[in-house]
Symmetry: C2
DNA sequence: TGTCAACGGCACGCCACGTGCCGATAGGAT
DNA sequence: ATCCTATCGGCACGTGGCGTGCCGTTGACA
């Protein structure tokens, strides 16, 4: 692996890719606890400088590593049934959140973000806003097609949908299972479904 | 302060109270970053053993410290207007979450809980379940008085209400302000309010 | 072939962890 | 009033990660 041709590079870029890959490996194997710079350096057979030259902190490295495996997993289908599409994506996201390497890396970033407002802002903008926006896009389309009422502020709705899943995953011992997702979607559709309350 | 009479005690109990107080002081003054056992010991003029004899880890100490200042702040009023009562309590909780000493201590516990499933379970049972239950109690009363529809599963609703607030506080850069709370309550009432959709 | 930045390896000081040992002391028991 | 003993504060230790220097080496590009 000498890196993609085209971009002018030296040893640097190839090492960068490898370090991100090693970080994800480490997360998958030893989990949150083993995620520190020294461990990544040892595992990669690399001097610590080689890491510090690229990322100012472990948190920054984790953010990049997360970016590598995460973005691909976020694409709502649009079958015309907003409830079914949300359900499918929520199940998929829940699986991703609980599986390595995304699970441990995400947890590690969130833990570090509690100590660092700047990191929290980056985490928010780079990941959570994206998740919410993607959800908002899908339910806004549903609003336009008449599946949802037209006069609702869906930004809060998107935040509630995503936030509830994150809350359950990070702070509770409950799994994000089908009944949880159905309960959440029940509330969402009762509030915003255009065909009135189903009950 | 020699501790409550009745329970047979020696120097221990008084020290315990003082250590919890010092922990909260430290959290209020230096925040999350300065919360570690050595710092508490230094601040209290105490040997580390005196802390380790009482709590197996910093997380356990933080849980006890949190318990001391937290429980009192959770009491929904019951004016007969469930939306107004929720709104008031959410505003109060949001203030507590963002102010010392509860803010930094809560953040510290949650960060440590990401690395320790056992701690996460304790945090969940001891605090979050209590919050949700208190909310569930209030909205269940509202259901009985006819403010909310009778056939809804309010357990999910309570989780969604609390979870959304925690999500916003912990993972976003947005404040839990009045408009956020109103947006959340708007969705909640639209879903479960007994007088049909207001729109 | 020469140049030079990136590299791996090593060592350092710092700090928090968790534990062990010490002599002092407080407070209940006699 | 005196003894006894658990608790106490103080100190030191080894461990391990942090972030930063300083080497001599290596590989990409001119």
């Amino acid at each position: 692996m000498t890196g993609t041709p085209g971009t002018p590079r030296r040893r640097g870029a190839a090492r960068t890719e490898e370090l991100l890959r090693v970080t994800l490996e480490l997360a998958a194997e030893v989990g949150y606890a083993g995620l520190n710079i020294e461990a990544v350096a040892r595992r990669a057979g690399v001097g610590k400088h080689t890491i510090y030259r690229r990322w100012p902190s472990m948190a920054a490295l984790l953010l990049d590593a997360l970016n590598l495996v995460w973005a691909s997993d976020l694409n709502y289908r649009d079958t015309g049934d907003v409830r079914a599409d949300l359900r499918e994506q929520f199940l998929r996201s829940s699986l991703a959140l609980t599986s390595p390497p995304i699970g441990p890396v995400y947890r590690a970033v969130i833990a570090e973000a509690q100590a660092d407002p700047t990191l929290r802002a980056i985490l928010h903008e780079r990941f959570l806003v994206t998740v919410e926006q993607s959800t908002l896009d899908r339910i806004t389309r549903a609003q336009r097609t008449g599946e949802l009422v037209t006069d609702a502020n869906l930004e809060f709705a998107a935040e509630v949908l995503c936030g509830t899943l994150y809350y359950r995953h990070l702070l509770t011992t409950r799994p994000i299972d089908e009944s949880a997702i159905d309960g959440l979607l029940e509330m969402f559709m009762a509030a915003y479904g255009s065909n009135g309350k189903s009950r």
